[in-house]
């Protein structure tokens, strides 16, 4: 599984990255976490508000920083789906 944080390196993007790190540790789901900072890469996801969080090519949220608990619930459903 793969988690991406989209955003051009603003303070809020770093906050979301930290929150995603926390969520990954809490959920125990195996997944890679990466930052996507290039604007044309970000645009491929059709995201117009940064930061955004993507799990396996699916945009989960954009323009806000969800609490770790919410990210955990996305991670576990995605993990269950992947089976």
């Amino acid at each position: 599984m793969n988690v991406k944080i989209l955003g051009s390196g603003c303070a809020r993007c770093k906050q979301l990255y930290a929150e995603a790190q926390k969520a990954l540790a809490q959920s125990g789901v195996e997944a890679s976490l990466e930052k996507v900072e290039k604007i044309d890469e970000i645009m491929k996801f059709g995201v117009m508000m940064t930061p955004a969080l993507v799990i396996d090519a699916e945009v989960k949220c954009s323009g806000r920083i969800p609490p770790a608990a919410e990210i955990v619930s996305w991670l576990t459903t995605a993990a269950a789906k992947a089976g």
Partner: protein, 348 residues
């Protein structure tokens, strides 16, 4: 976004709604009695009568600070809820392929209610122009979104009354519509960086329907985020305002920022553009200046150029716009603000 949502049982939802209503009622009661409280606090509790200038400054602060913060609280909460109905994706769909004029009007209006942060100006700009939103219409949105700002609106309403707040809203929208339309008529697409139009923009996320609990949470998050950030500026601004209110002599500003001084409007814009302050810090100061004889048009022009045209945003937009287009954008908006300033100085 996940559609599967846990719904709280009815009893819990009813209790939450009741709590919200009780909160609003308490808010209203406290708000209504702030002025009496400020008078009582300064005159009876501190029983100060010696220095009248200090008293008038203190009374100003003790009344205005809680009033503005309370207004901010409620309005930001409300705006947070309203914004949960609008996303940039939805706004883009509404604007794509619109003709000039109609598109500009719609874009300026949507700029007020769509969540926007100047840090996302670049992805938003690319997302708009690559999916069929005309350049001028995109600019109407980009001008109105920061300029017509809910914090500014609250402060103007709280400190000046509804007429000035309505003037600000109306003229801000008008500038966004007309400036965007002008940029559209000038056909400046060649000054957009070439790679922008080549960018492949994916289809944005499809937002699942939010429940009311989600929307209330969005309002609460907005309060935490915005009020949490601006309150020190509000207090600092009101403190400076209180100082001016108490210590600067009446009509002191009339000669510098009064109606008679025609050059004061362009000067106000010239000083205002490079200044980057949020509305929260600048408006209480401006209010005090107005009380000392500054003309409303001049003051409004100053405020709009501080909030609506900011240097950091232009630097961010440089990524996608060539300098001549940035200059045109700043020039057209500055001109609009200038006209608004003169208009109010003449009419009022």
């Amino acid at each position: 976004m996940d559609a599967v949502q846990w719904r709280p049982p009815f009893g819990m939802r009813a209790a939450r709604s009741a709590l919200l209503l009780a909160g609003l009622a308490t808010w209203w009661l406290v708000y209504r009695n702030l002025e009496a409280f400020a008078r009582w606090f300064v005159h009876d509790l501190l029983s100060m009568a010696a220095d009248t200038r200090l008293i008038s400054a203190l009374e100003f602060f003790v009344y205005e600070a809680p009033k503005v913060l309370m207004l901010l609280f409620v309005v930001v909460f409300g705006v947070g809820i309203v914004r949960s109905f609008f996303t940039p994706e939805r706004t883009r769909r509404m604007l794509a392929g619109r003709r000039q004029a109609v598109g500009n009007v719609l874009a300026a209006l949507l700029g007020v209610v769509t969540p926007f942060c100047s840090c996302s100006a670049v992805p938003l700009f690319i997302g708009f122009v690559t999916t069929g939103v005309p350049l001028g219409v995109t600019f109407s949105f980009l001008i109105s979104a920061p300029m017509v700002n809910e914090v500014a609106l609250v402060l103007l309403f709280g400190l000046f009354g509804w007429k000035v707040a309505a003037l600000y809203l109306g003229t801000g929208l008008a500038i966004a519509m007309i400036a965007g339309w002008t940029i559209g008529r000038l056909h400046l697409e060649r000054w957009v960086e070439g790679w922008v139009y080549q960018t492949k923009t994916g289809v944005g996320p499809d937002t699942a329907a939010l429940s009311w609990a989600d929307r209330v949470r969005a309002g609460r998050d907005a309060v935490k985020d915005i009020v949490g950030k601006v309150w020190p500026y509000v207090l600092a601004g009101i403190a400076v305002g209180a100082g001016i209110h108490g210590y600067v002599p009446e009509n002191f500003m009339a000669s510098i920022m009064g109606k008679g001084a025609w050059w004061s409007v362009p000067l106000a814009v010239l000083i205002g553009v490079p200044m980057y302050s949020n509305a929260a810090g600048i408006i209480p100061v401006v209010q005090a200046l107005l009380g000392k004889g500054a003309a409303l048009g001049t003051v409004l022009a100053f405020m709009m150029s501080v909030i609506g045209l900011s240097l950091p945003e232009m630097i961010i937009l440089r990524k996608v716009l060539r300098p001549p287009l940035i200059a045109t954008f700043a020039g057209v908006v500055a001109l609009g603000i200038l006209l608004v300033g003169y208009l109010f100085n003449i009419v009022l």
